[in-house]
């Protein structure tokens, strides 16, 4: 039994062990942004409908605003901050730049994490597969054509 006061929760974030001291009513999004300083995942609707807070939990795209931090004990969390390696952006990030797949950019980290998860499971997605993967990430600027193009372009780059 934990709480209602703060308790230690240990998980892995972007491949490294991390520990936070949070009460049970704090979400994974709270822990990432406020305890670990990882502000890539955004708080927008805060009710599991917009997707700006999307991170990967054990490889699955997940709304971190609707996930309790304490429920992530022992799990593997991936955020947009973990994608670049040795100063090189991930091919999905590069493709988002190349296709200009954003305007305001607020939904972009979530979009990118959804596309990263898709490309791991599906090396040669169709535009329809991309639509399904990002339908849970709202872009109010309407950048979807660029987002779909970016996903397809990143998939091609990976296959090459």
């Amino acid at each position: 039994m934990l709480g209602p006061g703060a308790a230690d929760v240990a998980f892995e974030v972007n491949g490294h062990p991390a520990s936070v001291h949070v009460p049970p009513h704090h979400t994974l999004l709270d822990a990432l942004r406020d305890e670990l300083g990882l502000t890539g995942a955004k708080r927008v609707c805060d009710e599991g409908t917009c997707g700006a807070c999307t991170v990967l939990v054990d490889g699955r795209p997940t709304y971190s605003c609707m996930t309790l931090a304490v429920a992530c004990e022992g799990r593997s969390i991936e955020t947009v901050e973990g994608l670049a390696h040795d100063g090189q952006l991930d091919p999905v990030q590069q493709a988002f730049i190349a296709t200009d797949a954003y305007q305001c950019g607020f939904c972009t980290p979530g979009q990118i994490m959804s596309v990263v998860a898709l490309l791991r499971a599906n090396k040669a997605p169709t535009a329809e597969d991309v639509h399904r993967a990002v339908a849970g990430n709202l872009c109010r600027c309407g950048a979807y054509p660029g987002i779909v193009e970016a996903a397809l372009r990143a998939a091609r780059a990976r296959r090459r």
């Binding site: 039994m1 209602p4 049970p24 709304y63 609707m66 309790l68 339908a135």
Partner: protein, 325 residues
């Protein structure tokens, strides 16, 4: 959210002892956390079921039907080709049920036990009947998404689950376990009969855990199909949905089930339409005649009469699909 304590028991027995008033179960959390953020649910302690082993995945054994663990994420069921061969309606019902994120987090047990989406119920400013108040605010309020039938208790909520009508059409059951033992009820009986005027949407009792969904062999012998109308193209709660299933031999339908979602507080059987097509081969004229029997006793509110022709058209299409016409 208000502070609460948190427990993650490892067994059903342990979980059952922890559950109770003020101490609800959480699985995927996609519904409960929304209710908590909205101030509609204010638990003192959450009992996280996700640490219980053996409630994920599914199996089919000869003669014993199909058994799905209640903690199985919806996306695992949707993407499983083998399951789609045993019970194709599950993939159809889940296709537009929610976003990929929600389907990865949400479970089949939670999908059946999710609370209704009525905006008066979900707004803490409205002390509606279901929350212990004296009246339904939808009755003379904004009622676009509300019930057109089965509102005996005066509550105009609708069942939001896409899986519930689909599973009722295949005579599915749920296993409910507690420290005292296990009972099996039909998915239809998991939903509280509105005529009983109980201020609860489900018949699961305090301390009980929904552990499995079971589809008996007879239910698996039926061909089934799911049709859903939404107010936009991408995932959304249904305006109206229809699950239809029947044993089909040489175009003739038997053991027909036609179950409507989002028209009543419970998954709603269209019994007259079922009887009209029972034992027949369905052509377009027959499907149209049967569909006209759907929701004949409906009493729409100010904004939701559109649901009646919508339901009839979905039933017509579902019957033609079943008959292979």
């Amino acid at each position: 959210m208000k502070p609460f304590a948190y427990a993650r028991p490892a067994t059903v027995a342990e979980a059952s002892r922890l559950l109770g008033r003020g101490s609800p179960a959480i699985a995927g959390g996609t519904d409960l956390l929304g209710l908590m953020k909205g101030g509609i649910a204010v638990p003192e302690r959450l009992v996280d079921l996700s640490g219980i082993e053996g409630l994920r995945g599914w199996s089919r054994e000869r003669g014993a039907g199909l058994r799905i663990g209640a903690l199985t994420p919806l996306v695992d069921l949707e993407e499983d080709d083998r399951l789609a061969r045993s019970l194709p309606i599950v993939r159809e019902a889940l296709a537009d049920a929610a976003t990929l994120q929600l389907k990865g987090m949400g479970t089949i047990g939670g999908n059946l036990l999710q609370r209704n989406r009525c905006w008066y119920f979900r707004d803490e400013a409205f002390p509606c009947w279901l929350k212990g108040g004296i009246r339904c605010f939808a009755a003379d309020g904004e009622s676009h998404y509300h019930a057109v039938v089965g509102t005996d208790a005066g509550c105009n909520r609708v069942t939001p689950s896409d899986l519930a009508p689909a599973l009722v059409a295949h005579d599915a059951q749920v296993r409910l376990a507690s420290a005292r033992g296990t009972r099996t009820v039909s998915v239809a009986d998991l939903f509280t009969d509105p005529a009983l005027h109980r201020r609860e949407e489900h018949t699961i009792r305090p301390g009980e855990i929904l552990t499995h969904v079971v589809v008996p062999e007879a239910g698996l012998q039926r061909r089934g199909t799911y049709r859903k109308a939404m107010d936009r193209k991408a995932w959304s709660f249904a305006l109206v949905s229809v699950a239809a299933a029947a044993r089909v031999r040489e175009g003739r339908l038997r053991d027909v089930r036609i179950v409507l979602g989002s028209v009543a507080p419970i998954p709603w059987r269209a019994l007259e339409a079922e009887q009209a097509v029972e034992g027949t081969t369905v052509d377009d004229a027959q499907a149209r005649r049967a569909s006209e029997l759907v929701l004949r006793d409906a009493v729409p509110l100010k904004d939701n009469a559109y649901k009646i022709p919508l339901a009839r058209e979905l039933v017509r299409r579902a019957l033609l699909r079943l008959a292979g016409a």
